[in-house]
Each structure stands twice: as structure tokens, then as C-alpha cells.
């Protein structure tokens, strides 16, 4: 069974540009999460989808971030326009059934560098 995949693995962009990160969860997992780790800090929750609906987006830093989950399958996280402080590693995770008891499986992350 394929794990959680993320694309791209690395992205380097200029301040003010737009970047779109993609996450493909494990097949059949209704729950999809985005997290971010800024250098030297802890991994922080951004938002949670249940199928195509946003269940909790309390961690989204501002309106420059837009997350979507088309048809309850893959998800994209768009940053527009990107700022220097958006640099970090963006992780996606997915889980099935009970959103707490079931394990969140993480992807390898996308390392975003904003210059």
C-alpha cells in the first residue's frame, strides 16, 4: 500500500511568488491534515479535512494560505503571495475512521524556501 506522498519535495521561490504544494493521502483515508515546521520550532497544525470539508482550520496563519481538497482525495496548499516567514517544511498526514484513535500517517514533507 502506498503511503502519503507529497509534491514537490523541495521548492525555492522568490518573495511575492505563488507556490502550490500537493498531498496525496493513503487511499481510503477520509482525514487529511497539514502541518508546518519552521526551522528551530515545533511542528504546528495548520488544518484538517474530513473528506472534502474543512473540519478545523484554526492553525492557518493568514489568508495568504488556501487549502483545498478536491473530491475528498488529494489536497493542495497554496501560498500566495509567499513571504520570507513562510519558509519551512510542510507535512501532510492522513488517517482513517476515528480521527483521534487512528494513527496519522505522515508524508516526507515539502521543504519550502522563500528568498
Amino acid at each position: 500500500e502506498a503511503g502519503v506522498t507529497q509534491f514537490p519535495s523541495h521548492s525555492v521561490i522568490e518573495k511575492g511568488q505563488t507556490v502550490t504544494l500537493r498531498c496525496d493521502p493513503i487511499s481510503g483515508h477520509d482525514n487529511l491534515y497539514w502541518y508546518r515546521r519552521v526551522m528551530g520550532k515545533e511542528i504546528k497544525f495548520l488544518l484538517h479535512f474530513v473528506k472534502e470539508s474543512k473540519q478545523d482550520e484554526s492553525g492557518m496563519p493568514n489568508n495568504r494560505f488556501l487549502a483545498e481538497r478536491t473530491g475528498g482525495t488529494y489536497s493542495t496548499l497554496k501560498v500566495q503571495p509567499a513571504e520570507l516567514e513562510d519558509s519551512g517544511v510542510y507535512f501532510c498526514a492522513s488517517s482513517q475512521d476515528h480521527p483521534v484513535r487512528d494513527t496519522q500517517y505522515f508524508g516526507p514533507g515539502t521543504r519550502l524556501t522563500v528568498l
Partner: protein
């Protein structure tokens, strides 16, 4: 709100030595507790989790952790480490009643040398 403190940012040990990675949490509600590991260039992998029941939890790769409610701790231990255990380890909690976000500590880098 919940918070997690990993007391050591780096832990260097020699191969075959025992190791303990410390984790304390703060929460006004009951929580579930997790340890994740991130090997170089890989995603986070679940080592073990505490949901309820026995306070000693066994995980993969010979790791175990003990939940101590009175001390609000969930320390990770391994009696004998290998070079391949070199990685970053994250302690995390999540609320039981509602919400599903994992709250992570800052991570502990375990470096095992021969």
C-alpha cells in the same frame, strides 16, 4: 490548551547504551500521547501511542514509553540503542474529547555513535 516540552534538544549516546528521551506535557483535559520518529529524508513514523490502559506502552524497534499522569510525563526509553536509531524524535499529544490536531514538542535529536 495543550503544550509539550521535550527537555533535551540533543542526546548523544554510544551504541548499545540505554537511552531516555524526556517529554512533559500540559493540558487541562485528558489527552492521548504519541512518540513519532523522523529518520533523515523521511516522513514522521509512529513509534508508539498511549490511549488508555496499561501505562507502559511498547512500540516498534524496541522502544517503550511510560505514561505518568501525576508527573504529566511520557518518557521514551530503549535499553540498548543502535546506530540506526539516529534520528529526530517527537513527542505529541492530542485532546480526547474533540479536535484532532497533534500538538508537538520541539523534537529531540538522538545521535548514536560507535
Amino acid at each position: 490548551a495543550q503544550s509539550v516540552t521535550q527537555l533535551d534538544s540533543q542526546v548523544p549516546v554510544f551504541e548499545e547504551a540505554p537511552v531516555e528521551l524526556r517529554c512533559n506535557y500540559s493540558s487541562s483535559v485528558s489527552v492521548y500521547l504519541f512518540w513519532y520518529v523522523q529518520y533523515p529524508n523521511q516522513g514522521l513514523q509512529l513509534l508508539l501511542k498511549y490511549l488508555s490502559g496499561s501505562t507502559l506502552v511498547k512500540g516498534i524497534n524496541g522502544f517503550e514509553a511510560e505514561f505518568n499522569k501525576s508527573q504529566t510525563s511520557f518518557h521514551l526509553r530503549k535499553p540498548s540503542v543502535h546506530i540506526s536509531d539516529t534520528a529526530e524524535y517527537f513527542c505529541a499529544v492530542t485532546r480526547r474529547q474533540a479536535g484532532t490536531a497533534l500538538i508537538f514538542g520541539k523534537g529531540t535529536t538522538l545521535s548514536v555513535s560507535s
